[in-house]
Amino acid sequence: MNALWLVPLLPLISAVILILGSAWLGRRAVAVLGVGSVGLAALLTARVVTAFLGSGEASTQVLWTWMAVGDFSVQVAAWFDGLTAVMMSVITGVGFLIHLYSARFMAEDDSYARYFAYLNLFVAAMLVLVMADNLLLLYLGWEGVGACSYLLVGFWYKDVANGAAARKAFIVTRVGDTAMALGLFLILAELGTLNIQSVLQLAPGHWATGDTMVVLATVLLLGGAVGKSAQLPLHTWLPDAMAGPTPVSALIHAATMVTAGVYLIARTHGLFLLAPTTLEIIAWLGVLTALLAACSALVQTDIKRILAWSTISQIGYMFLALGVGAFGAAIFHLVTHAFFKALLFLAAGAVIYCLHHEHNIFRMGGLRSRMPVTFVSFLLGASALAAIPFTSGFYSKDVILLAAWQHDPLLFVAGLCGAALTAFYSFRLLFVAFFGPAQQEPDRTIGWVMAVPLGLLCVGALAGGALTLPLTDVFPPAIGVVNHTIEYIAITVTLAAVGLAAWRYLRQRPDPASGGLREFWFAGWRVDALYELLWVRPYCWLAKRTQGEPVDHLYNGIVALARANHRTLSALQTGQLRWYATGMVFGLVVLLAVLMRAAL
């Protein structure tokens, strides 16, 4: 277990080397360093997790004591329990596969070293996020992944649109982060600590269930989670974030970073259990996001944007699970989603790689026979996403729907509608892109470097449902009775939706016709336009009005004061010995005079 601190350190060191040595490292060295460091971290994680599964005891491990001054001590410590083990495995495991894939995907890019430096840095920050034993350190990782996301979305910064997308991702999540920071302040002020385990222990004694303060604190934390996990109303950045390289979308905007919000709520679930109101909000936010995003995914034509909306929708399911108290189910879906969504993104990346950066699915077609490996991957990924029986997505979504049913049938019905939409848009994507007449010929092959990650993720997407996550000690049990009727209803609806998609898209290829609702959904329910009107324009107006910087006068005054004092005092430094001696005598006389006044 004592190798734990090496896991985040290895990618970090590699990132530093890559940043400093980008000028003289060869491409092969960059790839070996970038991929190898994460691979090594994955191996170490495997060792640590195996040891943990043997003993099964959660523990705190001090990685580094920065300083201990008086009562104040800054320690960097890791809390290692089942949840940490699961998250670390996903991050390093899926992360390694995506790094490996990137080695070829990005091979022709000029900024190869920069790419791997950012990607390694991201893995390090994400590991810090999930290993942190206190909320402050978690926040460091939280901001770290946010910064890396910004850097990687805007990776091809020479295109202005990519820079704008990166800024949007950063600023929109910043809104949530600010709420989260306020939540942390509130917790610190109320409980006097930010250590997660202490907070969870102290909270039930400090707050009664439903106390206004705990509701406020959890809502603020939820704000952070909503921003990071692209849920309503802060979901608008994720579709635009697809401007980054596809492996980045797979790693950051599907498998790991966007699920950080889910992790945060699961990690602090003790607080949320004290605030039933917040849980109710989470459940409804989640299911609403799942539905609205699925509708948008239905009409997109860009392969990556379909997957992006699908990610938003699937995280909505995780929030639904959190909201109904099925924390284990949320994490289970997080894991299976990491497998199949990473698989889908990487397969989409392979298509994009082989088709000259073609993103429009209606200009693909017939890829089934031309790219068989990619096709099989996509088929499995889409099946898992649609929750076809016996794939991983089926098992995890089933648990969520069951929990929703037991909590509130209305939530279940909404979730079921979302499931139908999901099945429909996943197979629409598959049928349009891989069946039908060929439109373009792939001009290159993906090679083993890209095929191996696809193959391994296929196994994960297929068999991930058989995993038993070591979460029983972390979360309270949620699901009482297993209800097979729910299962059968879900299967029927899903298969019907797949059949509908086949009927509509396999016989013919309807062009993406325009229409009122279709355009409305295509533009993501026009939320962007709404925000433009509500926030961006008033802000710009305000910025223009204060262009004269009236506040600056205050600071200029301080500067003038400091300079005037400096001039006066400098005038005293004459360089003359007699003057200096006079200064000393002056000091002595003044002090003695004060003394005499006090004494006499």
């Binding site: 300083m67 201990a68 001054v69 400096h566 430094q573 200064g583 000393m584 002090l591 003394l595 004494a599």
Partner: protein, 480 residues
């Protein structure tokens, strides 16, 4: 004359033995290399003996006390002297006829500083102070080919003499009032002395404070600082800024605690006034200074003002340990950082001319690009002085803060904050010059392994104390 005494005094004796050997070597066979070797060897021996004594020694005689506090500071002074000795040979060889005596004086000054850290009696205090001071006059004036060092030495000599006289007068008054000269004895007599002696003793205290404040260059006894810093040869300035001030502060703190001076409000108020004035005046004077050595001089005034906070905090027995910890950590951090800055100023290339030194800001322009190692060292030193996190200076300043917030020291804290704020401006101004690109550099520093080794060590020390300060903090806590 027991063996405990010989053991406790062995580091001092090692250095004293070193001076004798060095003197004989200079007399019979002048050779700069030999002189450097003998100096470094005796410093090494002294450091080794200190570590051998570590940490169990608690020897006490009438004059000296060798405890953990003294051991730690002595080690710091010896290391600082070793760095100075490492920096100096090439510099001195260019600027003076003979360089052997330079090292002799350096050893003597170090012995003086070590005695100061151990002193528990007025006599040993004076002995140490004068040993240090007289050696420093000569060290400052050592380069005999230019006038500036001479001017600096004369200024320092005259003013320092005046300060010593004030100090002595203070001691005389204290003796007149209490009949005691040992620190602990003074404290007992103070408790017994009636109101008649009170005024006498307070006047004595004020004069002693003035004398020591001169050595620490606290306002308004600070005016000599920039001229002496600028005129003195850079390695000597580094030594003066770190060892001399550190030693005087060490004895100041010990005397303050052991004589019980902290019980008297008038003393506390005088010190608070001096501290506030030093923090503000020092930083304001440095604000638009273009000469790096003068800038460091003004900044040292402010830093000594920050350190004075410790004296006021430890007047409350509950915070005594934290305050002394803070002082020791701050001294170590300040010493390492200041030595780093002066190491760059001594770097060959800036010093290859026999004429005046090239220590204007413009001479540092673009250093980071022309000579990354030297530039990086200066950069890190400036950030550390400014108190930026992950450097030694940050942890030191944080320590001061956490010590100061334990009591009602709001005025001091406020001055610390304002002073640090002003400080960031001028430290970053140096950084700005270091990072400038558009300069065609006239003075290209060229360094061999000698300078590079030292730079790497100092860099590691400044950053190491910032990244993993706990090792030193643990060490300090273990000896107190």
């Amino acid at each position: 004359m027991n063996s405990g005494m010989w053991q406790a005094l062995s580091p001092l004796l090692a250095l004293s033995g070193g001076t004798v050997v060095l003197m004989l070597q200079i007399a019979f066979h002048r050779n700069p290399r030999w002189s450097v070797a003998i100096t470094q060897l005796s410093l090494l021996l002294g450091a080794g003996l200190l570590l051998w004594l570590w940490p169990g020694s608690d020897y006490q005689s009438l004059l000296l006390r060798v405890d953990g506090y003294a051991l730690l500071l002595n080690l710091l002074f010896i290391l600082a002297a070793a760095v100075t000795c490492w920096l100096s040979p090439a510099y001195i060889a260019l600027r003076s006829e003979q360089s052997g005596e330079f090292f002799l004086l350096l050893l003597l000054a170090t012995i003086g500083a070590m005695i100061l850290a151990q002193a528990v009696h007025v006599a040993s205090l004076l002995l140490g102070l004068e040993l240090l001071g007289v050696a420093l006059y000569a060290l400052i004036a050592y380069p005999d080919r230019s006038l500036l060092p001479l001017e600096a030495a004369v200024k320092y000599l005259v003013l320092s003499g005046a300060a010593s006289a004030t100090l002595l007068f203070g001691f005389a008054l204290a003796y007149a009032g209490t009949g005691q000269l040992a620190f602990t004895g003074l404290s007992e007599s103070l408790a017994l002395a009636g109101s008649g002696a009170y005024t006498l003793v307070m006047a004595a205290s004020v004069m002693i404070i003035c004398g020591l404040a001169f050595k620490l260059s606290l306002v308004p006894f600070h005016m000599w600082t920039p001229d002496v810093y600028q005129g003195a040869p850079s390695p000597v300035t580094g030594f003066l800024a770190t060892v001399s001030k550190g030693a005087v502060f060490a004895v100041f703190l010990r005397a303050f605690l052991e004589t019980g001076a902290y019980q008297f409000p008038i003393i506390l108020n005088s010190l608070a006034a001096i501290a506030v004035a030093s923090m503000l005046v020092g930083n304001l004077l440095a604000l638009r200074q273009d000469n790096v050595k003068r800038l460091l001089a003004y900044s040292s005034i402010a830093h000594m003002g920050y350190l004075l906070i410790v004296l006021l905090v430890c007047s409350d027995p509950a915070n005594h340990d934290l305050a002394v910890e803070a002082a020791l950590f701050y001294l170590v951090a300040y010493t390492v950082t200041t030595l780093a800055a002066f190491a760059v100023l001594t770097w060959p290339g800036y010093e290859q001319y026999q004429g005046p030194e090239h220590t204007e800001l413009k001479h540092l322009s673009g250093l980071l690009w022309h000579h990354p190692l030297a530039g990086l060292l200066m950069l890190v030193a400036m950030l550390s002085l400014a108190g930026i996190p992950l450097t030694a200076g940050f942890v030191g300043k944080f320590y001061l803060f956490s010590a100061a917030v334990t009591g009602p020291h709001w005025l001091l804290l406020g001055s610390l904050v304002v002073g640090s704020g002003i400080g960031i401006y001028y430290y970053l101004r140096v950084v700005y010059y270091l990072l400038r690109r558009d300069d065609n550099h006239a003075l290209l520093p060229n360094a061999g392994w000698h300078e590079s080794c030292l730079a790497v060590v100092l860099l590691a020390a400044v950053l190491g104390l910032g990244i993993a300060p706990q090792s030193l903090i643990g060490w300090i806590q273990s000896i107190l």
